[in-house]
Symmetry: C2
Subunit: 269 residues, 2 copies
Protein backbone atom coordinates (compact mmCIF):
# COMPACT_ATOMS: atom_id res chain seq x y z
CA UNK A 1 0.00 0.00 0.00
CA UNK A 2 2.59 2.47 1.11
CA UNK A 3 4.80 2.05 -1.89
CA UNK A 4 2.00 2.73 -4.36
CA UNK A 5 2.00 6.43 -3.73
CA UNK A 6 5.16 7.47 -1.97
CA UNK A 7 6.34 10.22 -4.26
CA UNK A 8 8.89 9.51 -6.87
CA UNK A 9 8.70 5.77 -7.29
CA UNK A 10 7.22 5.64 -10.74
CA UNK A 11 7.73 7.57 -13.89
CA UNK A 12 4.39 9.35 -13.96
CA UNK A 13 4.79 10.48 -10.37
CA UNK A 14 8.31 11.55 -11.23
CA UNK A 15 7.06 13.67 -14.12
CA UNK A 16 4.40 15.15 -11.87
CA UNK A 17 7.03 16.22 -9.36
CA UNK A 18 9.01 17.81 -12.13
CA UNK A 19 5.96 19.67 -13.35
CA UNK A 20 5.25 20.73 -9.82
CA UNK A 21 8.74 22.00 -9.15
CA UNK A 22 8.89 23.93 -12.39
CA UNK A 23 5.54 25.70 -11.96
CA UNK A 24 5.79 26.29 -8.21
CA UNK A 25 9.48 26.95 -8.07
CA UNK A 26 9.18 30.70 -7.79
CA UNK A 27 6.37 30.59 -5.25
CA UNK A 28 8.07 28.13 -2.94
CA UNK A 29 11.76 28.78 -3.35
CA UNK A 30 12.37 32.40 -4.30
CA UNK A 31 13.31 33.37 -0.75
CA UNK A 32 15.63 30.47 0.02
CA UNK A 33 19.27 31.23 -0.75
CA UNK A 34 22.23 30.19 1.37
CA UNK A 35 25.56 32.06 1.63
CA UNK A 36 28.74 30.96 -0.09
CA UNK A 37 30.53 28.25 1.84
CA UNK A 38 27.59 27.40 4.08
CA UNK A 39 26.96 23.73 4.73
CA UNK A 40 23.40 22.81 3.79
CA UNK A 41 21.63 19.50 4.39
CA UNK A 42 18.67 18.62 2.17
CA UNK A 43 16.91 15.95 4.19
CA UNK A 44 14.74 13.61 2.11
CA UNK A 45 15.66 14.74 -1.39
CA UNK A 46 13.74 11.93 -3.10
CA UNK A 47 14.34 11.97 -6.85
CA UNK A 48 15.87 15.45 -6.62
CA UNK A 49 12.80 17.40 -7.70
CA UNK A 50 13.74 20.30 -5.40
CA UNK A 51 17.50 19.76 -5.42
CA UNK A 52 18.10 21.48 -8.75
CA UNK A 53 16.36 24.65 -7.59
CA UNK A 54 18.00 24.54 -4.19
CA UNK A 55 21.46 24.20 -5.70
CA UNK A 56 20.91 26.87 -8.35
CA UNK A 57 19.60 29.38 -5.79
CA UNK A 58 22.70 28.84 -3.66
CA UNK A 59 25.43 28.13 -6.20
CA UNK A 60 28.27 28.53 -3.72
CA UNK A 61 26.76 26.64 -0.80
CA UNK A 62 27.95 23.10 -0.09
CA UNK A 63 24.84 20.96 -0.31
CA UNK A 64 24.46 17.43 1.00
CA UNK A 65 21.25 15.79 -0.17
CA UNK A 66 20.22 12.59 1.55
CA UNK A 67 17.40 10.11 1.06
CA UNK A 68 16.62 6.71 2.50
CA UNK A 69 15.91 5.24 -0.94
CA UNK A 70 18.83 4.29 -3.21
CA UNK A 71 16.39 4.07 -6.13
CA UNK A 72 15.35 7.68 -5.66
CA UNK A 73 18.95 8.77 -5.11
CA UNK A 74 20.18 7.31 -8.37
CA UNK A 75 17.51 9.26 -10.22
CA UNK A 76 18.45 12.38 -8.25
CA UNK A 77 22.13 11.91 -9.13
CA UNK A 78 21.28 11.48 -12.81
CA UNK A 79 19.19 14.65 -12.74
CA UNK A 80 21.86 16.69 -10.95
CA UNK A 81 24.50 15.53 -13.43
CA UNK A 82 22.27 16.44 -16.36
CA UNK A 83 21.78 19.90 -14.85
CA UNK A 84 25.53 20.29 -14.44
CA UNK A 85 25.37 20.79 -10.69
CA UNK A 86 28.73 20.66 -8.94
CA UNK A 87 27.79 21.79 -5.44
CA UNK A 88 25.64 18.82 -4.39
CA UNK A 89 26.74 15.56 -2.83
CA UNK A 90 24.18 12.75 -2.60
CA UNK A 91 24.27 10.21 0.22
CA UNK A 92 21.98 7.40 1.31
CA UNK A 93 20.90 8.01 4.90
CA UNK A 94 18.01 7.74 7.35
CA UNK A 95 16.83 11.08 8.75
CA UNK A 96 16.40 9.46 12.16
CA UNK A 97 19.96 8.20 12.20
CA UNK A 98 22.21 10.42 10.12
CA UNK A 99 25.90 9.60 9.82
CA UNK A 100 26.95 13.14 10.77
CA UNK A 101 28.21 14.70 13.96
CA UNK A 102 26.67 17.62 15.84
CA UNK A 103 27.13 21.06 14.27
CA UNK A 104 27.68 19.47 10.86
CA UNK A 105 25.38 21.88 9.05
CA UNK A 106 24.64 25.59 8.99
CA UNK A 107 21.22 25.13 7.42
CA UNK A 108 18.75 22.31 6.83
CA UNK A 109 16.14 22.16 4.07
CA UNK A 110 13.16 19.78 4.18
CA UNK A 111 10.57 19.84 1.41
CA UNK A 112 7.59 17.46 1.00
CA UNK A 113 9.02 15.01 3.53
CA UNK A 114 7.10 15.41 6.81
CA UNK A 115 3.84 14.47 5.06
CA UNK A 116 5.20 10.91 4.79
CA UNK A 117 6.40 10.51 8.36
CA UNK A 118 4.50 9.09 11.31
CA UNK A 119 6.90 10.81 13.75
CA UNK A 120 7.53 14.28 12.28
CA UNK A 121 8.51 15.88 15.60
CA UNK A 122 11.11 13.20 16.26
CA UNK A 123 12.47 13.68 12.73
CA UNK A 124 12.75 17.44 13.19
CA UNK A 125 14.38 16.92 16.57
CA UNK A 126 16.87 14.43 15.15
CA UNK A 127 17.81 16.91 12.42
CA UNK A 128 18.34 19.66 14.99
CA UNK A 129 21.16 17.65 16.55
CA UNK A 130 23.22 18.14 13.40
CA UNK A 131 22.55 21.87 13.09
CA UNK A 132 24.96 24.43 14.47
CA UNK A 133 23.84 26.93 17.07
CA UNK A 134 22.07 29.77 15.24
CA UNK A 135 21.56 27.67 12.12
CA UNK A 136 18.18 27.50 10.41
CA UNK A 137 15.79 24.84 9.26
CA UNK A 138 13.41 25.51 6.35
CA UNK A 139 10.40 23.24 5.93
CA UNK A 140 7.91 23.27 3.06
CA UNK A 141 4.77 21.13 3.04
CA UNK A 142 1.39 21.11 1.30
CA UNK A 143 -2.00 20.69 2.96
CA UNK A 144 -4.75 18.92 1.07
CA UNK A 145 -7.36 20.38 3.40
CA UNK A 146 -6.48 23.76 1.91
CA UNK A 147 -7.88 22.78 -1.49
CA UNK A 148 -11.17 24.38 -2.48
CA UNK A 149 -12.56 25.38 -5.81
CA UNK A 150 -15.38 26.65 -7.98
CA UNK A 151 -17.64 25.04 -8.99
CA UNK A 152 -17.68 23.30 -5.62
CA UNK A 153 -18.17 19.53 -5.75
CA UNK A 154 -18.80 16.99 -3.03
CA UNK A 155 -17.44 14.23 -5.28
CA UNK A 156 -14.20 16.15 -5.86
CA UNK A 157 -13.82 16.65 -2.12
CA UNK A 158 -14.35 12.92 -1.59
CA UNK A 159 -11.73 12.08 -4.23
CA UNK A 160 -9.22 14.37 -2.51
CA UNK A 161 -10.14 12.78 0.82
CA UNK A 162 -9.03 9.41 -0.64
CA UNK A 163 -5.48 10.67 -0.89
CA UNK A 164 -5.67 12.05 2.66
CA UNK A 165 -6.99 8.74 3.98
CA UNK A 166 -4.43 6.61 2.10
CA UNK A 167 -1.60 8.78 3.33
CA UNK A 168 -2.98 8.50 6.87
CA UNK A 169 -3.13 4.70 6.60
CA UNK A 170 0.47 4.70 5.41
CA UNK A 171 1.44 6.61 8.56
CA UNK A 172 1.67 10.03 6.94
CA UNK A 173 -0.36 13.24 7.11
CA UNK A 174 -1.58 15.05 4.00
CA UNK A 175 -2.80 17.94 6.18
CA UNK A 176 0.62 18.58 7.73
CA UNK A 177 1.12 22.04 6.19
CA UNK A 178 -1.04 23.84 8.76
CA UNK A 179 0.86 22.11 11.57
CA UNK A 180 4.38 23.34 10.82
CA UNK A 181 4.40 25.90 13.60
CA UNK A 182 3.45 23.50 16.44
CA UNK A 183 5.65 20.73 15.02
CA UNK A 184 8.76 22.93 14.91
CA UNK A 185 7.98 24.26 18.37
CA UNK A 186 7.63 20.80 19.83
CA UNK A 187 10.93 19.82 18.21
CA UNK A 188 12.61 22.68 20.06
CA UNK A 189 13.19 25.24 17.31
CA UNK A 190 12.96 28.94 18.11
CA UNK A 191 11.96 32.13 16.23
CA UNK A 192 9.64 30.13 14.00
CA UNK A 193 8.08 32.07 11.15
CA UNK A 194 5.46 30.41 8.96
CA UNK A 195 4.66 31.85 5.56
CA UNK A 196 1.71 30.39 3.66
CA UNK A 197 2.10 30.19 -0.12
CA UNK A 198 -1.30 30.11 -1.69
CA UNK A 199 -1.67 28.97 -5.27
CA UNK A 200 -4.69 30.77 -6.69
CA UNK A 201 -5.68 29.64 -10.15
CA UNK A 202 -8.26 31.11 -12.50
CA UNK A 203 -8.38 31.10 -16.30
CA UNK A 204 -6.40 34.33 -16.51
CA UNK A 205 -3.40 32.27 -15.34
CA UNK A 206 -3.20 29.52 -17.98
CA UNK A 207 0.26 28.35 -16.92
CA UNK A 208 -1.09 27.51 -13.46
CA UNK A 209 -4.25 25.93 -14.87
CA UNK A 210 -2.02 23.51 -16.77
CA UNK A 211 0.99 23.30 -14.49
CA UNK A 212 -0.76 23.20 -11.15
CA UNK A 213 -4.48 22.35 -11.22
CA UNK A 214 -4.21 19.75 -14.00
CA UNK A 215 -0.70 18.36 -13.99
CA UNK A 216 0.17 18.65 -10.32
CA UNK A 217 -2.89 18.47 -8.09
CA UNK A 218 -5.47 16.58 -10.16
CA UNK A 219 -2.81 14.23 -11.53
CA UNK A 220 -1.82 13.41 -7.96
CA UNK A 221 -5.41 12.64 -6.98
CA UNK A 222 -5.86 10.54 -10.14
CA UNK A 223 -2.77 8.65 -9.03
CA UNK A 224 -4.59 7.09 -6.07
CA UNK A 225 -7.59 5.87 -8.11
CA UNK A 226 -6.68 2.18 -8.02
CA UNK A 227 -5.54 2.12 -4.38
CA UNK A 228 -8.56 4.06 -3.16
CA UNK A 229 -11.11 1.91 -4.96
CA UNK A 230 -9.33 -1.31 -4.01
CA UNK A 231 -9.24 -0.19 -0.36
CA UNK A 232 -12.99 0.45 -0.50
CA UNK A 233 -12.62 4.11 0.45
CA UNK A 234 -14.75 5.32 -2.46
CA UNK A 235 -17.04 4.01 -5.18
CA UNK A 236 -15.48 4.13 -8.63
CA UNK A 237 -18.24 6.28 -10.13
CA UNK A 238 -17.92 8.86 -7.35
CA UNK A 239 -14.15 8.95 -7.82
CA UNK A 240 -14.51 9.43 -11.58
CA UNK A 241 -17.04 12.21 -11.07
CA UNK A 242 -14.66 13.81 -8.55
CA UNK A 243 -11.86 13.82 -11.11
CA UNK A 244 -14.15 15.22 -13.81
CA UNK A 245 -15.23 17.94 -11.37
CA UNK A 246 -11.60 18.82 -10.60
CA UNK A 247 -10.98 19.23 -14.34
CA UNK A 248 -14.19 21.26 -14.50
CA UNK A 249 -12.48 23.87 -12.27
CA UNK A 250 -9.96 24.47 -15.06
CA UNK A 251 -12.57 25.82 -17.47
CA UNK A 252 -12.91 29.54 -18.19
CA UNK A 253 -15.18 30.22 -15.20
CA UNK A 254 -13.42 27.85 -12.80
CA UNK A 255 -11.20 28.63 -9.82
CA UNK A 256 -8.84 26.41 -7.85
CA UNK A 257 -7.06 27.22 -4.58
CA UNK A 258 -4.35 25.35 -2.70
CA UNK A 259 -1.89 26.43 -0.03
CA UNK A 260 1.64 25.33 0.72
CA UNK A 261 3.26 26.31 4.00
CA UNK A 262 6.87 27.33 4.37
CA UNK A 263 8.40 27.60 7.83
CA UNK A 264 11.82 28.73 9.00
CA UNK A 265 13.04 27.99 12.51
CA UNK A 266 16.28 28.55 14.39
CA UNK A 267 18.50 26.21 16.31
CA UNK A 268 19.28 27.45 19.78
CA UNK A 269 20.22 25.96 23.14
Amino acid sequence: MKKTYIHGYDHRENMRLQDQASTLVELLHFDTSYPAGSRVLEAGCGVGAQTITLARNSPNALITSVDISEVSLSEARRKAAAAGLTNVQFEQADIFNLPYGPDSFDHIFVCFVLEHLSRPVEALHALKNHLRQGGTITVIEGDHGSAYFHPDSEAARQAIQCQVELQRRAGGNALVGRELYPLLRRAGYRSIRVSPRMVYVDSSRPELVEGFTKKTFTAMIEGVRESAIKAGIIEQDVFEKGIRDLYRTTESDGVFCYTFFKAVGNQSI
Copy 2:
Protein backbone atom coordinates in the same frame (compact mmCIF):
# COMPACT_ATOMS: atom_id res chain seq x y z
CA MET B 1 -34.29 35.15 9.76
CA LYS B 2 -32.42 37.38 7.38
CA LYS B 3 -32.24 40.33 9.69
CA THR B 4 -30.72 38.30 12.51
CA TYR B 5 -27.33 38.17 10.94
CA ILE B 6 -27.05 40.75 8.22
CA HIS B 7 -23.91 42.53 9.33
CA GLY B 8 -24.13 45.69 11.30
CA TYR B 9 -27.59 45.58 12.79
CA ASP B 10 -26.71 45.09 16.40
CA HIS B 11 -24.08 46.46 18.68
CA ARG B 12 -22.05 43.30 19.09
CA GLU B 13 -21.93 42.73 15.35
CA ASN B 14 -21.00 46.36 14.95
CA MET B 15 -18.09 45.95 17.37
CA ARG B 16 -17.02 42.82 15.56
CA LEU B 17 -16.89 44.68 12.26
CA GLN B 18 -14.81 47.36 13.90
CA ASP B 19 -12.43 44.76 15.30
CA GLN B 20 -12.28 43.15 11.90
CA ALA B 21 -11.54 46.36 10.08
CA SER B 22 -8.84 47.40 12.50
CA THR B 23 -6.96 44.10 12.46
CA LEU B 24 -7.42 43.33 8.76
CA VAL B 25 -7.15 46.84 7.51
CA GLU B 26 -3.56 46.55 6.34
CA LEU B 27 -4.09 43.15 4.74
CA LEU B 28 -7.19 44.12 2.80
CA HIS B 29 -6.78 47.80 2.07
CA PHE B 30 -3.11 48.69 1.82
CA ASP B 31 -3.17 48.67 -1.97
CA THR B 32 -6.37 50.65 -2.50
CA SER B 33 -5.75 54.36 -2.92
CA TYR B 34 -7.56 56.62 -5.37
CA PRO B 35 -6.11 59.79 -6.97
CA ALA B 36 -7.02 63.29 -5.86
CA GLY B 37 -10.27 64.45 -7.38
CA SER B 38 -11.41 61.01 -8.49
CA ARG B 39 -15.06 60.16 -7.95
CA VAL B 40 -15.38 56.97 -5.92
CA LEU B 41 -18.56 55.06 -5.12
CA GLU B 42 -18.58 52.80 -2.08
CA ALA B 43 -21.53 50.52 -2.77
CA GLY B 44 -23.04 48.94 0.34
CA CYS B 45 -21.13 50.80 3.05
CA GLY B 46 -23.24 49.37 5.89
CA VAL B 47 -22.29 50.95 9.21
CA GLY B 48 -19.14 52.42 7.66
CA ALA B 49 -16.70 49.81 8.93
CA GLN B 50 -14.60 50.13 5.75
CA THR B 51 -15.44 53.74 4.96
CA ILE B 52 -12.98 55.25 7.44
CA THR B 53 -10.08 53.30 5.96
CA LEU B 54 -11.20 53.96 2.40
CA ALA B 55 -11.43 57.70 3.03
CA ARG B 56 -8.13 57.93 4.90
CA ASN B 57 -6.27 56.01 2.17
CA SER B 58 -7.61 58.41 -0.46
CA PRO B 59 -7.87 61.73 1.40
CA ASN B 60 -8.38 63.79 -1.73
CA ALA B 61 -10.80 61.53 -3.54
CA LEU B 62 -14.50 62.41 -3.55
CA ILE B 63 -16.23 59.45 -1.98
CA THR B 64 -19.93 58.67 -2.14
CA SER B 65 -20.93 55.86 0.21
CA VAL B 66 -24.37 54.35 -0.26
CA ASP B 67 -26.37 51.74 1.58
CA ILE B 68 -29.96 50.54 1.37
CA SER B 69 -30.44 50.78 5.15
CA GLU B 70 -31.00 54.17 6.75
CA VAL B 71 -30.26 52.61 10.15
CA SER B 72 -26.81 51.55 9.02
CA LEU B 73 -26.21 54.87 7.28
CA SER B 74 -26.90 56.92 10.39
CA GLU B 75 -24.30 54.87 12.26
CA ALA B 76 -21.88 55.30 9.35
CA ARG B 77 -22.45 59.08 9.36
CA ARG B 78 -21.84 59.25 13.10
CA LYS B 79 -18.62 57.26 12.72
CA ALA B 80 -17.36 59.39 9.82
CA ALA B 81 -18.06 62.60 11.76
CA ALA B 82 -16.24 61.24 14.82
CA ALA B 83 -13.28 60.41 12.59
CA GLY B 84 -13.31 63.91 11.16
CA LEU B 85 -13.78 62.75 7.58
CA THR B 86 -14.63 65.52 5.13
CA ASN B 87 -14.38 63.68 1.81
CA VAL B 88 -17.32 61.28 2.19
CA GLN B 89 -20.95 61.86 1.34
CA PHE B 90 -23.50 59.29 2.52
CA GLU B 91 -26.67 58.56 0.58
CA GLN B 92 -29.44 56.05 0.92
CA ALA B 93 -29.69 54.04 -2.30
CA ASP B 94 -30.31 50.60 -3.75
CA ILE B 95 -27.37 49.13 -5.67
CA PHE B 96 -29.76 47.79 -8.29
CA ASN B 97 -31.31 51.18 -8.88
CA LEU B 98 -28.82 53.93 -8.15
CA PRO B 99 -29.87 57.58 -8.58
CA TYR B 100 -26.78 58.38 -10.69
CA GLY B 101 -26.22 58.71 -14.39
CA PRO B 102 -23.75 56.80 -16.53
CA ASP B 103 -20.07 57.75 -16.11
CA SER B 104 -20.78 59.15 -12.66
CA PHE B 105 -17.79 57.48 -11.04
CA ASP B 106 -14.15 56.83 -11.80
CA HIS B 107 -13.90 53.94 -9.34
CA ILE B 108 -16.24 51.67 -7.41
CA PHE B 109 -15.45 49.92 -4.16
CA VAL B 110 -17.50 46.96 -2.86
CA CYS B 111 -16.51 45.21 0.37
CA PHE B 112 -18.43 42.42 2.14
CA VAL B 113 -21.55 43.07 0.10
CA LEU B 114 -21.83 40.35 -2.56
CA GLU B 115 -22.01 37.67 0.16
CA HIS B 116 -25.48 39.00 1.03
CA LEU B 117 -26.89 39.19 -2.50
CA SER B 118 -28.84 36.56 -4.36
CA ARG B 119 -28.04 38.22 -7.71
CA PRO B 120 -24.40 39.28 -7.45
CA VAL B 121 -23.78 39.36 -11.22
CA GLU B 122 -26.75 41.64 -11.76
CA ALA B 123 -25.50 43.90 -8.96
CA LEU B 124 -22.03 44.11 -10.49
CA HIS B 125 -23.54 44.76 -13.88
CA ALA B 126 -25.79 47.51 -12.52
CA LEU B 127 -22.78 49.17 -10.91
CA LYS B 128 -20.85 49.04 -14.16
CA ASN B 129 -23.41 51.30 -15.79
CA HIS B 130 -22.32 54.15 -13.55
CA LEU B 131 -18.59 53.65 -14.07
CA ARG B 132 -16.68 55.63 -16.64
CA GLN B 133 -14.84 53.91 -19.47
CA GLY B 134 -11.49 52.72 -18.08
CA GLY B 135 -12.67 53.04 -14.50
CA THR B 136 -12.11 50.24 -12.00
CA ILE B 137 -14.18 48.20 -9.61
CA THR B 138 -12.58 46.73 -6.48
CA VAL B 139 -14.38 43.89 -4.73
CA ILE B 140 -13.40 42.28 -1.41
CA GLU B 141 -15.16 39.22 -0.01
CA GLY B 142 -14.44 36.44 2.46
CA ASP B 143 -14.99 32.72 1.90
CA HIS B 144 -15.97 30.55 4.84
CA GLY B 145 -14.94 27.43 2.95
CA SER B 146 -11.38 28.74 3.18
CA ALA B 147 -11.33 28.29 6.98
CA TYR B 148 -9.25 25.42 8.30
CA PHE B 149 -7.31 24.98 11.48
CA HIS B 150 -5.30 22.88 13.88
CA PRO B 151 -6.38 20.95 15.82
CA ASP B 152 -8.91 19.97 13.18
CA SER B 153 -12.48 19.48 14.42
CA GLU B 154 -15.57 18.11 12.73
CA ALA B 155 -17.77 20.00 15.23
CA ALA B 156 -16.05 23.28 14.42
CA ARG B 157 -16.55 22.64 10.73
CA GLN B 158 -20.24 21.95 11.37
CA ALA B 159 -20.60 25.16 13.40
CA ILE B 160 -19.04 27.15 10.52
CA GLN B 161 -21.35 25.35 8.11
CA CYS B 162 -24.32 26.75 10.09
CA GLN B 163 -23.33 30.26 9.07
CA VAL B 164 -22.91 29.13 5.45
CA GLU B 165 -26.34 27.46 5.47
CA LEU B 166 -28.12 30.39 7.14
CA GLN B 167 -26.57 32.81 4.68
CA ARG B 168 -27.65 30.53 1.83
CA ARG B 169 -31.23 30.42 3.14
CA ALA B 170 -31.22 34.22 3.33
CA GLY B 171 -30.27 34.32 -0.36
CA GLY B 172 -26.56 35.00 0.16
CA ASN B 173 -23.36 33.05 -0.36
CA ALA B 174 -20.70 32.75 2.35
CA LEU B 175 -18.38 31.04 -0.16
CA VAL B 176 -18.46 33.92 -2.63
CA GLY B 177 -14.77 34.86 -2.26
CA ARG B 178 -13.53 32.13 -4.57
CA GLU B 179 -16.07 33.18 -7.21
CA LEU B 180 -15.00 36.78 -7.74
CA TYR B 181 -13.25 36.08 -11.03
CA PRO B 182 -16.20 34.37 -12.76
CA LEU B 183 -18.72 36.83 -11.25
CA LEU B 184 -16.84 39.88 -12.53
CA ARG B 185 -16.37 38.22 -15.92
CA ARG B 186 -20.06 37.46 -16.24
CA ALA B 187 -20.86 41.04 -15.31
CA GLY B 188 -18.72 42.21 -18.22
CA TYR B 189 -15.62 43.54 -16.52
CA ARG B 190 -12.23 43.18 -18.20
CA SER B 191 -8.58 42.75 -17.06
CA ILE B 192 -9.73 41.09 -13.86
CA ARG B 193 -7.00 40.39 -11.34
CA VAL B 194 -7.81 38.43 -8.19
CA SER B 195 -5.48 38.60 -5.23
CA PRO B 196 -6.16 36.25 -2.31
CA ARG B 197 -5.40 37.65 1.15
CA MET B 198 -4.78 34.79 3.50
CA VAL B 199 -4.94 35.39 7.22
CA TYR B 200 -2.58 32.89 8.82
CA VAL B 201 -2.70 32.85 12.62
CA ASP B 202 -0.47 31.01 15.05
CA SER B 203 0.51 31.92 18.60
CA SER B 204 3.51 33.94 17.43
CA ARG B 205 0.96 36.47 16.13
CA PRO B 206 -1.03 37.35 19.28
CA GLU B 207 -2.73 40.39 17.73
CA LEU B 208 -4.30 38.14 15.07
CA VAL B 209 -5.19 35.44 17.62
CA GLU B 210 -7.23 38.07 19.48
CA GLY B 211 -8.27 40.35 16.65
CA PHE B 212 -9.07 37.77 14.03
CA THR B 213 -9.55 34.20 15.27
CA LYS B 214 -11.38 35.14 18.47
CA LYS B 215 -13.01 38.51 17.94
CA THR B 216 -13.74 38.36 14.25
CA PHE B 217 -14.22 34.82 13.00
CA THR B 218 -15.28 32.85 16.08
CA ALA B 219 -17.43 35.75 17.31
CA MET B 220 -19.22 35.74 13.96
CA ILE B 221 -19.91 32.00 14.18
CA GLU B 222 -21.08 32.38 17.79
CA GLY B 223 -23.43 35.04 16.49
CA VAL B 224 -25.54 32.46 14.61
CA ARG B 225 -25.94 30.12 17.62
CA GLU B 226 -29.58 30.89 18.29
CA SER B 227 -30.67 31.03 14.65
CA ALA B 228 -28.87 27.80 13.76
CA ILE B 229 -30.25 25.80 16.67
CA LYS B 230 -33.75 27.23 16.20
CA ALA B 231 -33.62 26.32 12.49
CA GLY B 232 -32.65 22.77 13.39
CA ILE B 233 -29.41 22.93 11.41
CA ILE B 234 -27.30 21.67 14.32
CA GLU B 235 -27.66 20.17 17.80
CA GLN B 236 -26.80 22.61 20.58
CA ASP B 237 -24.09 20.39 22.09
CA VAL B 238 -22.36 20.00 18.73
CA PHE B 239 -22.48 23.74 18.19
CA GLU B 240 -21.03 24.42 21.64
CA LYS B 241 -18.27 21.90 21.05
CA GLY B 242 -17.57 23.53 17.69
CA ILE B 243 -17.15 26.91 19.33
CA ARG B 244 -14.91 25.46 22.05
CA ASP B 245 -12.82 23.82 19.33
CA LEU B 246 -12.49 27.10 17.45
CA TYR B 247 -11.18 28.73 20.64
CA ARG B 248 -8.90 25.72 21.07
CA THR B 249 -7.12 26.78 17.86
CA THR B 250 -6.05 29.98 19.65
CA GLU B 251 -3.91 28.13 22.19
CA SER B 252 -0.12 28.06 21.95
CA ASP B 253 -0.02 25.08 19.56
CA GLY B 254 -3.06 26.08 17.52
CA VAL B 255 -3.27 27.44 13.97
CA PHE B 256 -6.12 29.15 12.14
CA CYS B 257 -6.33 29.99 8.43
CA TYR B 258 -8.85 32.06 6.49
CA THR B 259 -8.70 33.72 3.10
CA PHE B 260 -10.28 36.90 1.79
CA PHE B 261 -10.31 37.60 -1.93
CA LYS B 262 -9.73 40.99 -3.47
CA ALA B 263 -10.50 41.53 -7.14
CA VAL B 264 -10.00 44.52 -9.40
CA GLY B 265 -11.71 44.74 -12.78
CA ASN B 266 -11.94 47.35 -15.50
CA GLN B 267 -14.87 48.94 -17.21
CA SER B 268 -14.64 48.79 -20.98
CA ILE B 269 -16.99 48.72 -23.93
